[in-house]
């Protein structure tokens, strides 16, 4: 029998070929330290090849150099390799081959992971140096002109969003409340901070705050805590309402791409948006590497999640204490006449 003369390796080759011949041969470069984020010095990069046949030779040519032979595919027609990034600041144009045939890159979605490494041009960054903390959205506490802050504490919040549970929201609020004792949020059905579903354009969530100058009650605060109208005049230059709008469609897409529940990404989004409600500004997105991400106010969900920054940090706490150097007047209970206390 001719089969008897086949070596074990040859049999494996046949089996592997039969099993995997219908699969596309693909290669992916990943940041294994912080998935979905840009590569930088100190990260572990992984290369993953699949869909080949046993024993095919893996080679790579980078930036037009000589081919490196990296090994052979295993019995499942796959191969992987990990390496520590020790230098950055440039691009590596890589073509990977199986037995001399180029392999098709299988990059992560550029819609949901725009900063993740991609073949053929893999960007490798140096580390971000310095602090990258948020500023305030505008103005200054007790300053004149543009509204910048809440003039009282605690600020009531509530959620009618169907995308996350009240427990999720309460957890986010509790985390923010632990960041600064000067500004607090508390649950109440009459809520200046209102979280609900809506359209956020191309964003997962937006915050729109409301402020006003109430000339007719200048010099004081009036019935802010009154149950009849929690949004009454607060005088001066305070914020008196903030809507956090969560986009169900966009969040569903993000959740699917991330492989997590909608509630999870909605909770992450609310954490970020509550920072806006408290008047913290966004941090612009740069290279999308984790050394840039020092605050939950960084402006990319995929990078925040990839870097594991899903809660406010000392960066955020410090800025909150800049915006609210002391606690504003206390709004102790619904129905209390707020005019009895002024601060600025």
């Amino acid at each position: 029998m001719q089969f008897r003369s086949l070596t074990g390796a040859a049999l494996l080759t046949i089996v592997s070929a039969l099993t995997y011949s219908l699969q596309a041969q693909t290669v992916q470069v990943r940041n294994d330290s912080y998935p979905g984020t840009a590569l930088e010095v100190g990260n572990t990069v992984g290369v993953y090849i699949s869909g080949g046949t046993y024993n095919q030779e893996v080679t790579v040519v980078a930036n037009g150099g000589s081919p490196f032979v990296y090994g052979n595919l295993d019995m499942t027609g796959a191969w992987s390799h990990q390496s520590l990034i020790i230098s950055g600041g440039g691009t590596s144009n890589q073509t990977w081959y199986l037995d001399g045939t180029p392999i098709t890159p299988n990059n992560l979605s550029t819609t949901y992971f725009p900063k993740a490494p991609k073949l053929p041009g893999v960007l490798v960054y140096n580390n971000y140096v310095g602090s990258n903390c948020p500023g305030a959205l505008s103005g200054a506490y007790c300053g004149s002109g543009s509204a910048a802050h809440w003039n009282y504490t605690p600020v009531a919040y509530c959620s009618t969003s169907t995308l996350l549970t009240s427990g999720n929201v309460n957890s986010d609020v509790s985390t923010w409340n632990s960041m600064s004792s000067n500004i607090q949020m508390s649950s109440n059905s009459y809520c200046p901070i209102w979280i609900h579903n809506g359209s956020a354009g191309t964003d997962n969530g937006i915050t729109r705050a409301t402020s006003g100058t109430c000339t007719s009650c200048a010099g004081g605060y009036k019935d802010l805590c009154s149950i009849v109208s929690p949004f009454e005049c607060i005088g001066g230059s305070g914020v008196y309402g903030a809507e956090i709008i969560l986009d169900a469609t966009n969040l569903a897409g993000a959740a699917s791409a991330q492989g997590v529940s909608v509630a999870t990404v909605a909770t992450n989004t609310v954490m970020h948006e509550l920072g806006h409600a408290l008047r913290l500004a966004d941090i612009g997105v740069g290279d999308g590497k984790c050394s840039e991400v020092q605050s939950v106010m960084y402006g990319s969900l995929s990078v925040l999640r990839g870097c594991g920054v899903t809660a406010p940090t000392s960066c955020d706490s410090n800025e909150l204490n800049v915006i609210y150097p002391t606690a504003p007047a206390t709004c102790s209970a619904v129905g209390t006449n707020y005019c009895s206390s002024t601060t600025c």
């Binding site: 980078a62 490196f68 691009t91 053929p120 969900l301």
Partner: protein, 256 residues
């Protein structure tokens, strides 16, 4: 109780993650936030949404990476804005037919036209726009960086619009970042809401800008090289050998 509030609210305005209404656009009255469970239509007038996409653009390189197609196109006409809820400006979108003058990257449809779907437009008593951005107008020429209009686009059931199988629907990437207006004198100009790295291309002659974009595309998508025949393969000495010698970012044509 709200009327009492109105009397006291001499000046009120929206702020978002960035300002939603500029000073000159402030309405004289503001309807306070509704109790839970109710809609929250803002006051009549101009409503400026924050330029705040979920995954922002940070460079031309990123813009090209995120683009499904890049075209030089002229606005044929704008269609009436649509909102999912006529009693609310939330989700307002406006579509415009774009004639493709030149495809810079990707595959343009055989019809030679696309439908551009943008956020904003006049919905009832609200004039909705995105901070630092403006809707395209008939006759204007742009270089567009486009992504397929997402699941949020609300025109799917509108039979008045062109057949999407012939005139596919796209949106600019990152609002103002996804389109550069070509002036009548030929210069390209991003809207104020675009990131500063893109403004470095402002006033470039459009042909020069298109050459830069093409160079950037070649950088993002270098041609696949056949296996180098006759070159002796090497065994890697370190785990990172497969990166080769990095090409410094300073040599980039499109800013990394």
């Amino acid at each position: 109780m709200y009327s009492n509030f109105f009397a006291k609210a001499a000046v009120a305005f929206f702020l978002g993650s960035a300002a939603l209404l500029s000073a000159q656009d402030r309405p004289s009255e503001y309807t306070p936030l509704r109790p839970p469970g109710a809609l929250s239509p803002p006051p009549p007038g101009k409503l400026v949404l924050p330029n705040h996409p979920a995954e922002p653009v940070s460079s031309l390189y990123q813009l090209v990476t995120m683009s499904a197609i890049i075209i030089d196109g002229t606005v044929v006409n704008s269609l009436p804005p649509i909102s999912p809820n006529p009693d609310s400006p939330d989700g307002a979108q406006t579509a415009a037919v774009i004639s493709v003058n030149r495809t810079v990257f990707g595959k343009a449809p055989a019809s030679g036209q696309i439908l551009l779907v943008e956020t904003g437009g006049q919905i009832g008593k609200w004039q909705v726009s995105v901070e630092g951005d403006s809707l395209v107008r008939a006759g204007e020429r742009y270089i567009f960086f486009l992504t397929p209009a997402g699941p949020n686009q609300i025109f799917a059931a509108n039979e008045m619009l062109p057949d999407p199988t012939k005139v596919p629907r796209y949106s600019p990437i990152g609002y103002a970042n996804g389109k550069a207006l070509v002036s009548t004198t030929g210069g390209a100009q991003f809207a104020p809401g675009a990131i500063s790295k893109l403004h470095s291309f402002d006033s470039s002659e459009s042909g020069v800008f298109l050459e830069k974009i093409t160079a950037c595309i070649n950088e993002v998508y270098p041609p696949v090289q056949p296996y180098p025949v006759g070159v002796a393969p090497l065994s890697p000495k370190s785990g990172m050998d497969f990166f080769g010698k990095l090409i410094p970012f300073g040599d980039s044509k499109c800013g990394k």
